[in-house]
């Protein structure tokens, strides 16, 4: 479980970003739009990353090459 902490580290990073975005959002009429857009984007992107990361944390299958011979010729 060497990398098991990565999602939590990511979570902290996103939380810091969100807090920063909340306060750094430009004042004025569009403040709500700035805040919601930045926060939601960060959360959505984090979610997708973390799902992808977790899916590969303990994979049940490993890649199997196909078309081995031609690969060898090109690669070799």
């Amino acid at each position: 479980m060497a990398n098991g902490w990565a999602p939590f580290i990511g979570l902290i990073v996103v939380a810091i970003f969100c807090a920063g975005a909340w306060f750094a959002a430009p004042k004025g009429d569009n403040q709500t739009i700035w805040r919601s857009t930045l926060l939601l984007s960060a959360v959505a992107m984090y979610l997708m990353w973390v799902i992808t990361f977790l899916a590969q944390l303990h994979p049940l299958i490993s890649p199997i090459r196909y078309d081995l011979r031609s690969d060898n010729e090109i690669g070799g």
């Binding site: 939601l40 984007s41 049940l60």
Partner: protein, 858 residues
């Protein structure tokens, strides 16, 4: 009550305002408010027809002026003069004074007279010219006929004696003596008719003549090489010249009649060749005279139109605004005694200050001592929904509005949709390269925004241009999801060290299998080594399917929470306890649990435990069909799995009756309590008295009700309160509430299942997109890489262009459209069904800006 700041989260706070405007400045006030564009005027004369309203005369006059301007425009189009663009004016939006409008309408009247008279004379001259041209052709062609025909007089006479001889025996036999030629046709009592007829009628003409005259004629015709232009509609018609010789006056008259009825124009031709030559000369001089007159008329007309074209756009804008102003004024109620206009309008509470200062300005300018009075009225009517949108948000707001008008002050789904809509698109469209193309296209559209806004775009492109900021967000997220999927134009992106290494196969090569780099997980996105492997799809399908379920769960939970926010805002706790809480528990105990098991299964190192991971799908099915049993009881997902699943299922089942009965029962209880205390709705009372046939009482109730706030002793109609009854006081009907709740419950429970499944479209579309781009690469670029040398490079260039065009057209435009539609569906159906009420009234302010946008002057 301090007005709060309006945000996109909820629609703006509106107030119903009443304006008392002095009659003299009514026009100026309304036109100033039109420039402001923040007031939605209510029609206070809805029962009067359009003709009975106060300002019908003015509107009729402006209609006439508008028609004249359109006439100028049509004439300019005909003459090929372009109008000076509306964007070339410094400020076409200044409000004109009433006298300027009068001046303008007078001017356009006189200009119309002038232009139309010029036009009329031009058309008449043109017609004359056509006639003369035709005559010239007849004279020219007829000369030939005469020469030929004269040679045959002998024969004609011969044939007259012999009845059975064919009339047209030998047309080409010309070489007969001149002696015969001297004999005139008139001697032989042979008459002739010459003229011009459209070419497509010539066959019919010939046939009819032949049949009616039983062949007693001699006809000659020839084609006019150049088409004749009809001045009425500027169409080209090809025509033929004909000349018909026949015997006897009656027959000649008959021929004339037939040819006129078939649309032929007859011209007089002299049979004497000398006279004919004179005629031709005369026609030619008249033609050249006519041409110079025509030229003059044309240039005068063009000069007139060019002068008009310089100001036409501004005039059109002015007239359009003026007409809209009077149409709005017609919605006002007019107090004849006090010379006051009374208007009612919805306006954002935050704009009231602006409105007041604008009205003050108008008053000061007019120098009127009587101020315009602005009243705020308290009302039970539902205010219209209004969001102040900007260039960025308008596209997203339109997406939501297309589904339904948001209820006044409810949570606006467009705000989260700014992110979730393009994000779900990107999950389906995930490819870094395609994302870059989208981003570049949208950036170009944003950069050239001003120029594109002014130019005329075709329908498809204007739609894309309207959503340029949506495309921008889509591009950004597609680049991100493409990086996570590790796809760029279907090729891998080796950003980091792979977590897989190929096995040695013993004889120096690298083997079909692979092993994991110990303790290392690929940090960002899918490992690129999965590309082009045998079991690539096996892995990515499982990953993307679970990704879809998890994202769907997040999105639906997120949307469901908005129903809590709405219930709290509208102070309806029964919606929280009767709808939100049981719904949330139901959803979470089934699909929340599914999401949990997905993540849990990922987090467990099954190989280290030495047991086979259980199948989640079978687990879920068994959870319903045989609660308490597991597929493989020796190898559970976790300890106590069976018990927890039974508890969760029980929780979900308990929630169904709560969802079904709590809200209707509570409403019934509340209603009965209110009745017991003696409260009754107004509408209810009236109905009861009507049922009792107690007319007097009913009228008294009705009339009294209206009198108290409707009429005052001077007969000023304050129309606000008495409209809209029955609208707010709905009668409580338990059966209706119950049926509604039953439908809601069934829908909610079934939808939890079907909507979760519906999010699998994220997987399906992203799979389709990836496969399609792989196929495209393999069919084009991969083949082209096989060639070498000069031919190789030529093929490469050609194939590259083909590949690129197909990528843009098929993968970006077509696939993008389909992904966008699916994302749209996920928002409209899957997300918005969880919280959206959507029974609002759209805010339609009286605004010159929107007026000109809807009906642009160009």
């Amino acid at each position: 009550m301090a007005p709060t700041k309006d945000t996109m989260f909820r629609s703006a706070d509106m107030s119903l305002t009443q304006l008392y405007i002095s009659n003299e400045i009514g026009r100026e006030v309304v036109s100033a408010l039109g420039e402001l564009g923040v007031m939605d005027f209510r029609d206070l004369n809805s029962e009067t027809s359009a003709f009975q309203r106060t300002f019908t005369q003015e509107i009729r006059r402006l209609d006439n002026a508008e028609r004249q301007l359109r006439y100028f425009h049509a004439q300019m189009d005909k003459a090929g003069i372009t109008m000076r663009s509306i964007y070339d004016f410094n400020n076409p939006f200044t409000a004109p004074s009433a006298s300027e409008i009068d001046e303008l309408s007078d001017k356009s009247q006189s200009l119309e007279n002038r232009v139309s008279s010029l036009n009329e004379s031009y058309e008449q001259l043109k017609k004359r010219e056509v006639e003369l041209t035709e005559w010239r052709w007849v004279l020219r062609e007829a000369g030939g006929f005469f020469d030929r025909a004269r040679g045959q007089t002998e024969e004609i006479r011969h044939s007259l004696d012999e009845d059975d001889a064919p009339l047209l025996q030998d047309v080409e036999q010309n070489g007969q003596g001149e002696a015969a030629a001297d004999r005139s046709f008139s001697v032989m009592n042979i008459g002739f008719v010459a003229g011009v007829i459209p070419r497509e009628r010539i066959a019919a003409f010939e046939r009819i003549l032949w049949r009616t005259l039983r062949g007693n004629l001699y006809m000659n015709q020839s084609e006019i090489p150049e088409p004749i232009i009809n001045p009425e509609n500027n169409e080209e018609v090809s025509k033929n010249v004909f000349i018909i010789f026949a015997h006897g006056k009656d027959i000649i008259a008959k021929i004339r009649k037939i040819s006129e009825s078939l649309g032929a124009d007859l011209y007089s031709v002299d049979e004497n060749s000398e006279l004919r030559r004179d005629q031709i000369r005369e026609v030619n001089t008249r033609l050249s005279d006519l041409a110079s007159v025509l030229r003059n008329t044309k240039s005068t007309l063009d000069a007139e139109l060019t002068a008009i074209s310089r100001n036409l756009a501004a005039w059109m804008v002015i007239i359009k605004k003026e007409k809209a102003t009077y149409e709005t004024l017609n919605k006002f109620s007019y107090d004849h005694q006090r010379k006051t206009l009374i208007a009612e309008a919805w306006a954002p509470t935050n704009s009231l200050g602006l409105i007041k200062s604008t009205l003050q300005d108008v008053n000061d300018r007019a120098g009127l001592s009587v101020p315009t009075i602005v009243n705020q009225i308290k009302t039970t009517k539902t205010p219209p929904t209004f969001f102040k949108s900007n260039r960025f948000t308008v596209g997203f707001q339109t997406i939501i509005d297309a589904y339904g008008t948001i209820k006044y002050r409810e949570v606006n789904p467009a705000l989260p949709a700014i992110v979730t809509f393009p994000f779900f698109f990107a999950v389906m469209f995930g490819d870094m390269g395609h994302g870059i193309i989208l981003l570049a296209a949208s950036l170009a559209m944003i950069y050239y925004e001003k120029r594109l806004l002014r130019s005329k775009l075709d329908e498809l492109f204007s739609m894309i241009f309207y959503g340029r900021y949506i495309v921008f967000m889509m591009g950004l997220f597609s680049i991100y999801t493409g990086a996570l999927y590790c796809d760029m134009f279907s090729k891998e992106l080796p950003l980091f060290k792979s977590m897989w290494e190929w096995n040695d196969n013993g004889n120096g090569g690298i083997g079909p299998g692979s092993h994991r780099v110990e303790g290392y997980t690929y940090p960002f996105g899918l490992d690129w080594r999965w590309h082009d492997t045998d079991n690539d799809l096996l892995f990515s399908n499982s990953y993307k399917m679970k990704l879809s379920i998890l994202l769907g769960w997040c999105h639906m939970t997120f949307s469901l929470v908005w129903s809590l926010v709405n219930a709290r805002y509208f102070h309806t706790p029964i919606d929280i306890w009767g709808n939100f809480v049981p719904g949330m528990i139901f959803f979470q105990s089934i699909f929340g649990y599914l999401s949990f098991t997905i993540v849990y299964k990922w987090c467990v190192d099954w190989a280290a435990r030495g047991i086979n991971p259980p199948s989640l799908l079978n687990m879920l099915i068994l959870m319903f069909l045989q609660p308490g049993t597991l597929e493989n009881p020796e190898e559970p997902l976790y300890q106590g799995q069976a018990t927890i699943q039974v508890i969760l299922l029980m929780m979900a089942l308990v929630c169904v009756p709560v969802l079904l009965f709590l809200k209707p029962m509570y409403l019934r209880w509340e209603h009965n309590k209110a009745r017991a205390l003696g409260y009754r709705g107004i509408g209810e009372n009236t109905r009861v008295s009507a049922l009792d046939d107690d007319d007097d009482e009913g009228q008294l109730l009705n009339g009294g009700g209206r009198e108290s706030f409707g009429d005052d002793e001077d007969g000023i109609a304050m129309i606000t309160q008495d409209i809209g009854h029955g609208e707010d006081h709905e009668e409580f009907e338990f059966s209706e509430v119950m049926i509604h709740q039953v439908i809601h419950t069934i829908e909610f429970c079934l939808n939890c299942v079907s909507h979760t499944a519906s999010y699998l479209r994220l997987w399906a579309l992203s799979l389709a997109h990836q496969r399609l781009s792989i196929v495209l690469w393999e069919m084009t670029m991969k083949i082209a890489f096989g060639f070498t040398g000069i031919t190789g490079s030529i093929i490469m260039v050609a194939v590259f262009y083909m590949w690129f065009v197909l990528t843009v057209v098929v993968l970006c435009v077509m696939e993008g459209t389909s992904a966008m539609l699916h994302s749209l569906r996920l928002h409209w159906v899957e997300a918005m069904s969880k919280h959206f009420m959507g029974d609002g009234i759209p805010f339609e302010p009286f605004s010159f800006k929107t007026l000109l946008e809807e009906d642009p002057v160009e």
